[in-house]
Assembly symmetry: C3
Homo-oligomer: 206 residues x 3
């Protein structure tokens, strides 16, 4: 129970952090406050929304208004303290990384309620973690960042696969969640520090 | 009954007007006739489609073919009389403004069938009214106009909130619909005439 | 039974071919391997996914993992043998054309399970065949190609309409499928060879 509450709290922190990052992107595009809210919303909740649409189930944030209030709070705070948030880039990176870790594992856990094979579980974990940012970039008329740089998605895939591995070893819910989230956070942080990347499929034929 | 028919008629007029505006946007992008039809379709019916997908319900235009015929008629007329439509810009603006007013309130009314709290009702009103145009702009490789200019969405929010206010005061269906639509039309028209806008979240840190 | 298996096999070939075309587009945009996989996935399976979302039914590839494995295989092969695939442009064009023919008719057949009128059946056939490529282009920050060039979509519409015509004449499943697919393949091939196109709705008023 306490652990679930802890996870839930961290998940709102993830949404909050994603929403802030959406707001900052919007501000670079000179959007107005409504546009910034929409971008913050889709960044924070778009990945889970796409997952729920594909699973043909009720969209999560429709039954949990706290998600929507979290986005609204993030937009208000970001509007008032934008300079501070931009300055807090390292803290934001940490939030964002915790966010993708939790979104990957929680997305996978949601998908597990639908009797899908492991391939799909990993897929829905990654979709939950990465498509909020992808929709943000599409709305801002950019090619999604996660298709181009860093091993963002790879970290999510590794985390999702290890979660399933730990599960097959019989690890408890808390242990496998903490371990697989840690793997995502570690890989992503190392990737940024060491400038790792996965191969670009450049068009060398031209 | 007569009033419902009146509302339905105006709603088709809204779809028609949105579809024409989609066609005109498409013509600026040198699309072919099929592309123009797709853009007209998503502009006219995309907002309601997104609302229905998020509510996990049957997409409205699947059970009411008149919506699709309206789009087809708009495309044919716009193709034949494009110059006239472009010249009729003020009339088109009026149709478009009536369109967003009706879409906001009818979107809210559809959402009311799903036992959602007021926050969601306003949200779905605004989504119905604004996301058709937003999808049009994404397909045409532009940042959605409603994220950048005018207080288009703000007018919808004000209208949706006042509808709920009138409802809590016990106003009848006709009265609250007419009043809240009038508010949207008034705010939007004044905003354009007076050049009102809401704050841009410009990135002044760079 | 044998015919169904034949159709199913050709449909995987269609997905495979679409996925390869997605990969090649991704490589022109300097995406990384994850991005290329996403683009290959949406090109191969996005049209059917949109159809299933609009029909409010379970997304097809969730119950048939072979579709997902086909995309994975296409990405691996395209990564290893990209130069060969680019060189095999004519073969790829053939696969692609067979792909849209089969997607049009199979999309229409799926929609027939939902008691929709003919207008919708044609619409869902065309959506299944063309929106994978359209989503690919949106993700790659381009105006969808099918909105601008060739009579790609027109070929699909002609094929879908003739399928319904053959059906009303009492033709059997095999005969009407083969004939209508042939029409699509023929029209599309002739259109490319003869450089046919449908009218552009150019904005001549400026």
């Amino acid at each position: 129970m306490d652990f679930n509450l802890f996870i839930l709290g961290l998940s709102y922190l993830g949404t909050f952090s994603f929403a802030i990052s959406g707001f900052i992107t919007a501000s670079k595009k000179q959007l107005d406050l409504f546009g910034a809210f929409v971008i913050a919303f889709v960044t924070g909740l778009g990945g889970g929304t796409l997952r729920d649409l594909l699973l043909n189930t009720k969209v999560g944030w429709l039954s949990e208004p706290t998600n929507v209030y979290t986005v609204i709070a993030a937009v208000i705070l970001a509007y008032l303290f934008k300079k501070q948030f931009v300055r807090l880039r390292k803290t934001m990176f940490l939030f964002d990384t915790i966010g993708i870790a939790l979104f990957t594992i929680s997305g996978l856990q949601v998908a597990q309620q639908y009797e899908l094979n492991s391939l799909y579980l990993v897929l829905f974990g990654v979709i939950t973690a990465t498509f909020g940012g992808a929709i943000r970039d599409i709305l801002c008329d950019e090619i999604p960042l996660i298709f181009r740089r860093e091993i963002y998605a790879t970290a999510c895939i590794l985390g999702a696969v290890s979660y399933l591995g730990f599960e097959s070893l019989g690890f408890g819910l808390i242990l496998k969640t903490v371990l697989s989230c840690s793997i995502i956070i570690l890989v992503r942080t190392l990737a940024v520090l060491k400038n790792w990347s996965i191969p670009v499929v450049a068009d060398d034929s031209e």
